[in-house]
Amino acid sequence: MAVDTLLERITDYASRPDPYPLYAELREAGVARQTDGSYLIGGYHDIVALLHDPRLSSDRRNRAAPYHGLREDEETLVPFLRLDDPEHHRLRALAMRPFGPPHSPGRVDAMRGEIARITRELAEAFRGRTHLDLVDDFAYPLPVTVICRLLGVPREDEPVFRDWSTTIIDAFDVRSGEDADKRQRAGAQARTEMGRYLVDLAERRRGQPDDTMLSAFVNAPAADGVLIREELAATAVLLLVAGHETTVNLITNGVLTLLRHPDQLDRLLREPQLMPTAVEELLRYEPPVHLLQRVPLAHIDVAGTTLPKGVPVVLAVASGSRDPRRFQNPDRFDPTRQDNQHLGFGSGIHLCYGAPLARIEAQTALTALLPHLSTATLTEDPPPYRHSALLRGPRHLPLDLASPRNKG
C-alpha cells in the first residue's frame, strides 16, 4: 500500500522542495501507518485534537520497547520541549520569567529597536552588491545576533556553537527506516557540550546581574524555584538552538515565497501595514517546522484508527495548515487571510515559546527586505534545501539583485 511509505517519501531529501502533494495524500489517508509501525497524521482537526489531548506525551522516554531511542542515562539534558506536565510547566514557567508575562511583559517588545538596527546594518551591506546568499548574508546572522544579545552569548562565539547546533538539529530530525541511535548519541553529546558552555557563561554573571536571560536564570529570586544546573543547561541550549534555527527558515521561506508571488510582493510594498498578517500566512503556507513527534500514553482513537499506547506518532503540522477542511484555497498564498489559526507555532501547552520574538523578527526583516526584493530574482528555483524534513528551509537562497524582475 502506498501510504505505508508516506513518511519515507516525505523525509526523502528529493521531496524537500515540495512536500505538499505528499501531505495531500496523507490527509486523504487520514491516519497513515508506517512500515516501522509508527503513525503519521496530517489533518488539521485531528492534529489540533491530539495536541490538546492530555494522553499524548512529548517525552520520548514513554515510547514502547521497540521504539526506544537512547538509554535514559544518555538522555540527561531533556529540554521542556520534550517533557510533559508538571515538569514541563515548571521549567517553562521558569524560562518564561525573564522573557514574557507576567514578570517580563515588555521584554520582547523592547527588542524592536535593536532588531530594526541589526536588520538595517545587515541590509546596508547589500549596497553595491549584485549577488547575495540571503541565508548566509541575512536570514542566518539576524536571528543569531538577536538570540545572542537576548541570552547573553558573545556574538563572536558563533563559530563555536554553530556545529553543536547543527548536530542537535540533525539528531532531532525524523528519518524513516534509519537507525537513529548514532545521530541521537551525537546530538546528546553536542547538547552536553553546548550546555556546559552556556552554564559557564551564566555562572560568570552570578551576583553580577545584567539584562540578559542567562543572567536572570542564575540571579532569579528563589521564591518561584530555580533552575538546577542540568535544567539551566537544557533550557539554555533549547533557547539558543530553537531561537535561531527556526527563524532562519521563516525569513528565508518568506523571501522565497514573496519572490514566487510578485503580485503579493508589490502589494506589500504598497501596503506595508499588511506585514503582520502576511507573516501569519507564511507560518501557514511555508512554515519552518513541519513535523512534531509524540507518544500516546493510552490507546487513542483518531479518525477511525486506534493509536496504540507507546507507539510513536508524527503530526505533520505543515500538512494541517494546508488542510482544505479548515482553510479555503489552502494552497493559495494570501497575505490578507483572515481567521488564520495556522499550526506554524504548534498548539496546546507546547505552543512555541519564542513565537512573539519570531513574529517581530520576521515582520522587521521582511519589511526591510521588500525594497531590495522588488528588483531581485531567484538564481535557483527551487533552491538547495537543508537536509532536515522536520525543520524545513533552504540551505542557501542565492539572489540576483541587479536584474529587473521578470514580471510573468
Binding site: A49, P54, R55, L56, D59, D84, D85, P86, G348
Partner: protein
Amino acid sequence: MPGDLRDGRIVIVGASLAGLRAAETLRDEGFTGSLTVLGEEPWPPYDRPPLTKQVLLGTAAPESTGLPMRRDVDADWRLGVRADGLDPIGKRVLLAGGEALPYDRLLIATGTRARPWPHPEQAALDGVLAVRTRDDAAHLADRLAAGPRRVLVIGGGFTGSEIASACRERDIEVTVAERGPGPLVGALGGTLAKLAAGLQRAHGVDLRCGVTVTALRGDDKGRFTGADLSDGSRIDADVCVIALGAVRNVEWLADSGLAAGPHGVACDAGCRAFTRYGIVTDDVFVAGDVSRFPHPLFDYQMLSLEHWGNAVAQAEVAAHNMVSPGPLRRPHLGVPVFWSNHFGISIKSVGVPTFSDQVVVAQGSVAERRLAAVYGYQGRVTAAVTVDMGKWLEHYQRLIETAAPFPPAPGAADGHPLISELPVPSDVPDPAGLSHGPTVALTGHLPDRRLTVRHSGT
C-alpha cells in the same frame, strides 16, 4: 423575499457588546436599510471585563474601555435614551420621552444590571456601590485610590472575587461575605470553592462564608461605616461593594406579550423571541445576557449566560438570521466558555458546570492550585474548569461536544492517571438559593431532577 430582508428598518435596543457586534454583522451580511441603536448609557459600547480588573487596579482609565468598532456600521446611535415599552402589533419601540421608534425587525440586547441591595435606605449610604457600568468602576477606583481602611465585598462570585483581588493587589484590607460555603460555589460547585477559599485567604482576604449581611450601617452624615453579619459579628469598613449578581433588564417588556421574566427573554435556537404563549415571533430577536435559549448539549434546557463570548456569538447568529431567509438561518449552539483572572490565577470554564451531578479532578490537584476539573451529568461530560491549565481546555470542550463518557478515560501525560481523585458529587447548589447569581443559570429544572414543564409567570 430574501432581497427584502436586506432592507427595511432594524432597531437594536442595547448599545452593548452584543448590540455592537450585531450591528457590525448586519452590515457585514449586506443589510442596507436603516439601523438604529438605542443605549441607555451616554457612552458608545464599551467592554466590561476590564472594569473589575485593570480599571480597579488603576492601570486603565474607565474611558479607555470603549469597544473597537470592526467596521463603520452606519447606524443612528441614540445614546442616553431608554426604551420604556414595546408595541409588537404597531411594531414600535416606545421611548422614555414619549417618542415611538418604528421597526421592521427588532433586536433586544438590553443585558443586565447589578442586583441592588434590598434595603434602599442602606443602599443609599455614601460608600455603598456596585460595579456594573463604566461610571460604577470609575467611582470604585476613586474610592480605592483614596485609601479606605477596609472594603467589604458582599458576594463571592466572580465579580466579588475579582474586586477583592484588585483590593489586595492595591494592599487594601478587604472582607468578603459569602452566603454559600465558599467563593464561586454557585458557578463551579464545592470542589473549586475550596480552592478559591484557600486562595483568597492566602492573599490576605478576610473571607467569611456561610454568612449573610443583615444590615449596612452609616454615620449621621450618611456615610457607610460598616455592616452586621448573620453570625453576630460586625465589620468596620469605608466602602461596601454589592456583588450579588445581576438582574435582567426586562421590565420594559412587561406589556409586550413576550416571554420575558426574571430569567430573561426566552427565544429559540435561532434567537427569535417567544411570546408568553410559547409561539415564536419572526421579527423580534434576542441576544446576549438578557436572553434565555435552549441548548441541545444541556437537554434543551433554557440557558441564561452572562458571558462575553456568548454575547458575541449570539449577536452574530441573531444578526445573520435577521437578514437571512428561513432555510439559511443558523442555530446558536456554541459551547459556553468563560474566564476570570484573580489572585494571580486564571480560571477558565467550558460547558455548564452547574449542569452536573459529579466532578473529578482530571489533571493537577487542588493542592497545587493548578488543575483541570471535569464535570459530568448522568455519565457524560458536560463541563470542565481549568485553573492555570487553560491550554488543555480545548480537549475537554471536544469531550463535551461529543457527549463523551464521564469520567473521562485515564492516561494523562502529567505523571499520574487522568483520574487523580475519584468522582465526587459536584456539589452544585440550587440556583434558587443563591443571592449572587451563578454566571450560568439553567432554568426549567435542576439537573438532578426530571421535570418537563415549567410555567414562568410574568
